[in-house]
């Protein structure tokens, strides 16, 4: 099971597609039942996916910051005890975490830029009428970017 959850098929296909499918299902089952059973607008969950990706990335970054603090403490202990072999390993870990944290600000900025762009595009060009969305600009593009954001966050999380 663990192997399956760590596999690329789960991480880059089943997880993002499953998130989208679950989002669609939740949107469909919580709709007012005086309207039709399933509408194409139920598929428009791209913005929700992007927001989920943003929040996931913020959590991952917080975890990394905490891991960096711990790694720094361990590095100080190794250096004070004169254990240079462990110190080298911990220093590599610290460098890796620092590198990821240095990029985190940019990734968050890009995620929020994407969120703003998609919401503006949907507002401006995504609606055919008061209740009907355009398939490409209202549903497909936000969904594509939502999945891309989830994949990017998953890819970054395993580095």
């Amino acid at each position: 099971m663990e192997q399956f959850l760590a596999s690329p098929i789960f991480r880059y296909a089943l997880f993002p597609l499953g998130s989208a499918a679950l989002g669609v299902a939740v949107k469909c089952v919580t709709r007012n039942d005086r309207y039709t059973s399933f509408r194409k607008e139920d598929i428009a969950v791209g913005i929700e996916l992007m927001l989920t990706a943003c929040l996931m990335f913020v959590l991952i970054t917080t975890d990394r910051a905490l891991a960096l603090l711990k790694a720094n403490r361990r590095l100080a202990e190794c250096l004070s005890s004169g254990n240079t072999t462990s110190a080298t390993t911990v220093q590599t870990e610290v460098q890796h975490l620092s590198g990821r944290l240095a990029l985190a600000g940019w990734v968050i900025a890009l995620l929020f830029l994407g969120l703003w762009s998609v919401s503006t595009i949907v507002r401006k060009w995504g609606w055919k009428s008061e209740t009907e969305m355009m398939p490409l600009t209202g549903i497909a593009i936000p969904l594509g970017l939502g999945i891309l954001a989830l994949i990017a966050v998953m890819a970054g999380a395993v580095q």
């Binding site: 993002p16 597609l17 039709t36 762009s117 497909a140 936000p142 594509g144 890819a155 970054g156």
Partner: protein, 188 residues
């Protein structure tokens, strides 16, 4: 004019932002992606984009897989309390009910909305009391043209339009519970 111009500028800026964001995210985060992971990611994105483009077909497919009866309720304004009761009973049994009181908001194009409602319905229930209203004849014509199952329901003593005279009606006069059950059974 100025506001519209600013809105246009923002809209086009957002397109640039979208492209920049997509490319940037992929460049920054894809370093750990192996060719297989990269291919999987592309496939996932393509699948959802296609799902979005063909969303109308998917919705139709979902309706075909899990069908539900859709009922167009036709009634006059003074029959709304009874129509709400009928709609409640039908919805409780899983039907989707189109009732103009709920759908026609101020400023809505009445004829277009009614045509859409009838086009999406499986059956047409005409709630009748008193003299037939002119709009009933129009709705009835649309329903018959689309081959919908037409069910006349008497709420009170009523004059049946000629198109409905040959059809057996359901009698809901004097709070007829059996008539309610029959109606629910017929349309759901």
């Amino acid at each position: 004019m100025k506001r519209k111009f600013v809105s246009e500028i923002f809209a086009w800026l957002s397109v640039g932002g979208l492209v920049f964001s997509a490319i940037g995210l992929f460049t920054l985060q894809s370093k750990s992606l192996k060719p297989f992971d990269f291919a999987l990611s592309i496939v996932s994105v393509v699948i959802v984009v296609l799902a979005g483009i063909f969303s109308a077909r998917l919705a139709r497919l979902a309706k075909w897989i899990a069908p539900s009866r859709r009922v167009f309720l036709s009634c006059s304004h003074h029959d709304y309390p009874a129509a709400r009761e009928v709609a409640k009973a039908l919805r409780a049994d899983g039907a989707f009910v189109w009732l103009d009181e709920e759908r026609l908001r101020p400023g809505a194009p009445i004829r277009e909305m009614i045509e859409k409602g009838i086009a999406g319905a499986d059956s047409f229930v005409a709630l009748l009391s008193g003299k037939p209203r002119p709009s009933l004849l129009l709705e009835l014509g649309l329903a018959q043209a689309r081959g919908l199952k037409v069910i006349p329901v008497l709420l009170a003593d009523a004059e049946l339009p000629s198109d409905l005279q040959g059809l057996r009606y359901i009698d809901l006069r004097h709070g007829n519970d059996h008539g309610f059950e029959e109606l629910v059974r017929e349309v759901t």
